[in-house]
Symmetry: C2
Subunit: 255 residues, 2 copies
């Protein structure tokens, strides 16, 4: 189809049908998020706001006992995800991955009716779609407005995650550091034992992302983990750890 | 006096009269907090919960145009601070440092009457006294109770900081990572453009502290800065950067 591409991930372990251009193309964010899931994970995982399915497929590729539901509200992106699952190259994973067209922000009975029942998942991951968009809203007023909307979305999405994930199940989220306040506020009373891995493009620059993982109903304390540095040396190359995550050969939290 | 010691800091640039034992002895926390103040800082700075005065004296020692008020509620610790200022070794600093015996959690007129007037400082730093204490309260219930009290204290202390620091003035706080949620919540609407430096004992272990700096009334976003690693190599020695901070020769945020 014109306007779409088929791209290899995890060094050819799975493929993704994506829009040819625009902010919705998957990359390091999706792979770093997927790497937050323990390598030995077995069970049912929801990829909330899955887009074309990069993060969910990356989990399916690395965790052979994971069943994945790609939850996506945009019919266009859900269509890309379905075409990804239909690719012959993804036969190995397709049987364990399904697409659910639903709005993550739904609540109560509407959420259940959409296919997101309470306590029906062992893990939820999310890469909220506005992450990359806010910086482009040039005027300051628009940017502030976008942030307020974003803060509300974290509350709504983590509320859904807390509902659909069973007690002691996990949640992982990738976001910009500016969102840590609203995220920690939305986690309170729902998820505990949170761990944050700051993601830096280079070791001497501020973090561009934070990956946070937490456990539903746990009481443990928040930890700040050693950062993930994407690029090392004077060239543009990836660091060894980033390469391993790109290749689907490492988890972000060492498990 | 029995039960107290006189200790050198910043390689002999200033000295501190301290209790001989117990959790109130100053160390790396106070020096890392002081290092959050820009080296070129000039103006009036409040060290809230100053203890024997280590952090405030460290700022006075590194910033020759800083005037410091050590705010301490415990008469015993305020007494140590006064004796520190009276040491002949501290003559160079004494004229720019004073002790104010007051409760940081005071509000409104009581706070003003205690000597903490609104908008009367250019910067406030704080190393809340419970940081080191909570882990020792062995039973889980006590620990949780201590955390709840600690969370309330962050709100009260940052409320005071927001009152006494002038617009565009600064605040810096050192705390355990577990407190980042309550701290970010207490900053909201008061201080912006926050920067966090995680402090790790070793590069492969979770952070033991976080130093956060923010600007009153600023709208900038939260940043996660590269971490401070205290120890490097297989020995117990300090890293170069930690040595420089211990010696009063470096600021934590590169300014």
């Amino acid at each position: 189809m014109p306007g779409q591409t088929i791209d290899a991930f995890h060094r050819g372990s799975f493929f993704l049908v994506q829009p040819a251009r625009g902010g919705h193309r998957a990359g390091m964010d999706a792979l770093a998020l997927a790497a937050a899931v323990p390598s030995g994970f077995a069970g049912r995982l929801a990829d909330l706001g899955a887009g074309a399915g990069a993060a969910g497929l990356a989990v399916a590729s690395r965790c052979p006992e994971a069943d994945i539901v790609l939850v996506e509200n945009s019919p266009i992106m859900a269509g890309h995800a379905r075409r990804s699952l239909d690719l012959p190259e993804n036969t190995r994973l397709g049987g364990r991955v399904m697409v659910l067209e639903a709005d993550v922000a739904l609540t109560g009975k509407a959420r259940t009716a959409a296919g997101l029942a309470d306590n029906s998942f062992d893990f939820a991951i999310m890469n909220p779609p506005f992450n990359a968009e806010i910086d482009r809203a040039t005027p300051d007023d628009l940017k502030r407005q976008a942030h307020v909307m974003a803060d509300g979305l974290f509350e709504a999405w983590l509320r859904t995650a807390a509902a659909i994930v069973r007690p002691r199940g996990g949640v992982a989220i990738i976001a910009r550091p500016v969102s840590l306040g609203p995220i920690l506020a939305a986690l309170a009373g729902r998820f505990g034992k949170a761990q944050i891995v700051p993601v830096h493009a280079r070791s001497d620059a501020p973090a561009i992302r934070a990956v946070l993982r937490a456990t539903r109903g746990a009481r443990g304390e928040l930890s700040l983990m050693p950062p993930l540095i994407l690029h090392e040396g004077s060239g543009g190359g990836f660091s060894e750890r980033a390469e391993a995550i790109n290749a689907g050969q490492a988890s972000l939290f060492g498990d």
